[in-house]
Symmetry: C3
Subunit: 130 residues, 3 copies
């Protein structure tokens, strides 16, 4: 069973959902009315945090689950938690200034790449030993 991976999946969705609610709040705060997605640098940064989290979801979620299936559920959950923490730091940094997003971006990128590498290695190993 994959309870840890399932729980981390729910937590990552909660984080992503939170980045989206911040865009809704920033819309009213800066008077950016839909369907506009630009007009104020601070709004655009908040918007880009949501977009960037969205952009990483199809990298993170499938890699997380394939890692869980082909390598280990608790390890997948642990690395997934690192990804979420990196994402939270990235969100906080980017919201303050575009320059502050880089370092924490590396944490979540490294976590996602480790999940992808582990999953791919596990799959190739099974295909060879099938």
């Amino acid at each position: 069973m994959f309870h840890f991976t399932a729980l981390v999946t729910c937590l990552s969705i909660a984080l992503y959902f939170f980045t989206a609610t911040r865009v809704a709040k920033a819309r009213s705060a800066f008077g950016i009315r839909p369907p506009a997605i630009s007009g104020d640098p601070e709004f655009e940064r908040v918007f880009r945090v949501q977009m960037n989290t969205l952009e990483w979801m199809p990298i993170f979620l499938p890699s997380l689950w394939l890692f869980a299936i082909y390598v280990s559920d608790p390890f997948a959950g642990a690395i997934g938690l690192v990804w979420i923490v990196g994402r939270i730091l990235y969100m906080t940094g980017y919201s303050q200034a575009a320059e502050k997003r880089s370092r924490c971006f590396g944490i979540q990128a490294a976590a996602a790449v480790i999940l992808w590498l582990g999953a791919t290695s596990g799959i190739v190993w099974r295909l060879i030993h099938a």
Copy 2:
């Protein structure tokens, strides 16, 4: 087996695919040539409907499946159908005017949140009782 959830997954993909084809049609109708994504408010609303549906896919699909696995397949399918209907109403409303998108947005948001809450509760319950 998760036949109902699988079928609702296919239906939600069909709906999302449809929102994307409307953007392609609106591109020719309003003369917005790629890679531009702005230039006419009506085009931008049609574009934002696709984008917003895309933004909700990583919330909806994993929550739907974890709800199906940890709670119930037919219930997941039923709530998923409510989400799809809410999405269709949201699409129709937003295409007419940005103000008309709010009420139906709540329907699909509620359906997605119920799926997420059910899935998370189910996972936590299993982790405690494991």
Copy 3:
């Protein structure tokens, strides 16, 4: 087991990840600083390639897996490879000129639609014969 489908999933993530790294490179090459996402037609084309690949991920990945589960794992993997090749050709074409993206776009669209049709047929068949 779904080893072929799992491997093609990892390959599609790698391709998508590559389209994202090209945006980062194009940002420095054309001096488009975050959070801006426009300002140069060549940058915008590279950005749209990533966005369009992102837009197709929630169509491709669930259809791929439901096809694998309800129809066949090796066939899902093979059609998934066609999708990836179509995506690479689309990326190369669109990066050169917006007009060059159309033909290869059809290849990946056809592959995704076949996966969706196969998955949906398989699910409906099972629901009827359950």
